[in-house]
């Protein structure tokens, strides 16, 4: 599984970067980026689902 952000949907809410800073960060253009796209362990899976659930614009995708 891979984590991706749809930047067309992103509203810059900042939920992912604040709640999961080990995985998401702002780049210099004020866009969020995925630092660690591969989701393998159970812990990463839980985190990815949490991040998806609190993203208010539904911009976070988990694709296989």
């Amino acid at each position: 599984m891979r984590l991706m952000i749809d930047l067309d949907e992103c509203i810059m809410a900042g939920e992912c970067t604040y709640n999961h800073p080990e995985v998401f960060a702002w780049n210099d253009d004020d866009q969020p980026v995925v630092l660690q796209p591969q989701v393998t362990s159970d812990q990463e899976q839980t985190m990815a689902v949490q991040a998806q659930a609190v993203c208010p614009s539904g911009a976070i995708r988990l694709v296989s």
Binding site: I11, T17, A53
Partner: protein
């Protein structure tokens, strides 16, 4: 013509009845003349300009939410009405973990699925008063509604809702006032904790599909929350999820009835505008006026040095009225074009590049219930206004929005709000 003399703020003004009634003139003097105010009397620092408050919220290296002690652990406020809770866990990993357990219940799919329950509770309360022709909004609706919603979401028995409303009102009074109110608040907390203990134990052995079960079940590094932590968490959700939303509803109605009756007519004709009433209320006179931070290092601002480990008060209520950011900041206007009026972002940044209000905070400690609060306030207000048809103030005069103790963390709201309709 004489030049107005600049009158420095005396720290005792924060304790004056005038400040509790109307803090805005003092906010303005601070913003214009003393943007970094060292209050030696209360031993704290005060920031009042929008960009300084935003800066402190964004700077997690320089400012922490919890009492910062470089030598050891966070110090918890053991006398706090809520008990140990998420608000006291500072900027660390544990705070994020606690937050993430419940956060998705208040946004997105978790919340969407819960909206019918919110609507049902609103309708039940409105139905009770629909034949009356007049109500006192605070007692009949606003202090009732959010607490019933959150207790439902937690999965507490519906037949005990009235008891929760009672405990909640005592907790809140204990939070805002001191003395007897604090004693009664602590007594209510203990009573509630005793009531909760068997329910928590029951969820431990037999989880259900509710928020309480998720709180009980959540693990960090193989460890679950202690029973005391769970009780503190629930008390906080009841209070934070209830109190702020309750007062937000009352503030929205106050400004429609008394400040902008002209815009109220527009809102009655187009209920979707309640969303903008909510946004502008959060700027113009948000329920919470103060957030506290502690510096974790020396911070230099406007040429002044705030030392490490200083208590810094961020006056959101003052930043929201900063004329450097908002045009005609002292005018309540639901059609504001110089502010992001829609749903708030934790980041405080928007694609439109417009500034947002500061009422929910920004950054790591941004209000977790921001969408739910807005939804509750808008749903209840729109349905209530529709039932009333031609809602209007019962009394021509009103003492206004006030706070018994905004400076001790009290929230601003009207004490009573009488409304009548045909």
């Amino acid at each position: 013509m004489s030049v107005t003399e600049i009158q420095p703020v005396d720290p005792r003004e924060f304790d004056s009845p005038e400040f509790q009634r109307n803090p805005f003139p003092i906010y303005q003097r601070l913003r214009d003349n003393q943007p970094v105010y060292h209050d030696r009397f209360h031993n704290r620092w005060v920031l009042t300009r929008y960009e300084d408050i935003d800066g402190a919220f964004q700077d997690n290296e320089g400012f922490d939410r919890a009492v910062y002690d470089p030598e050891g652990d966070y110090q918890f406020g053991s006398k706090h009405v809520f008990g140990p809770n998420i608000l006291e866990y500072g900027n660390g990993e544990r705070h994020r973990w606690l937050r993430n357990i419940v956060a998705n219940q208040f946004v997105g799919k978790g919340l969407t699925e819960f909206i019918p329950v919110i609507e049902q509770i609103a309708d039940e309360l409105i139905e009770r008063v629909s034949g009356d022709g007049e109500i006192e909004l605070v007692d009949a609706i606003s202090t009732q509604f959010p607490i019933r919603v959150i207790s439902n979401m937690l999965g507490l028995p519906r037949e005990d809702e009235d008891r929760f409303v009672g405990w909640y009102q005592a907790l809140i009074a204990g939070l805002g006032f001191g003395g007897d109110h604090l004693a009664r608040g602590l007594a209510a907390r203990n009573e509630m904790w005793e009531y909760l203990e068997p329910i928590i134990e029951a969820r431990r052995s037999r989880p259900e599909d509710d928020l309480l079960s998720r709180i009980v079940d959540a693990e960090l590094d193989g460890q679950r929350m202690s029973t005391d932590e769970i009780k503190g968490f629930i008390a906080l959700l009841l209070a934070a999820g209830g109190d702020t939303t309750d007062k937000a509803i009352a503030n929205m109605w106050y400004h429609m009835l008394y400040t902008r009756p002209d815009q109220f007519e527009e809102v009655k004709a187009d209920p979707t505008l309640w969303d903008d009433v909510f946004g502008e209320m959060m700027r113009y006179d948000a329920v919470v006026h103060i957030q506290t931070r502690y510096t974790t290092r020396e911070v230099t601002l406007h040429g002044q040095v705030i030392p490490e480990r200083a208590l810094v008060r961020l006056y959101l209520g003052a930043g929201n009225r900063d004329g450097r950011v908002f045009t005609d900041p002292d005018t309540f206007d639901i059609h504001r074009s110089d502010m992001h009026m829609g749903r708030e972002n934790r980041s405080g940044r928007y694609r439109s590049e417009l500034p947002g209000h500061l009422g929910f905070g920004i950054g790591r400690h941004f209000c977790m219930g921001y969408i739910m609060a807005r939804q509750e306030a808008v749903i209840a207000s729109a349905r209530l206004a529709e039932m009333m048809g031609n809602a209007r103030p019962k009394f021509a005069e009103h003492e206004g929005i006030t706070s018994p103790s905004v400076d001790s963390g009290g929230f601003r709201t009207p004490a009573e709000l009488w409304i009548e309709w045909d």
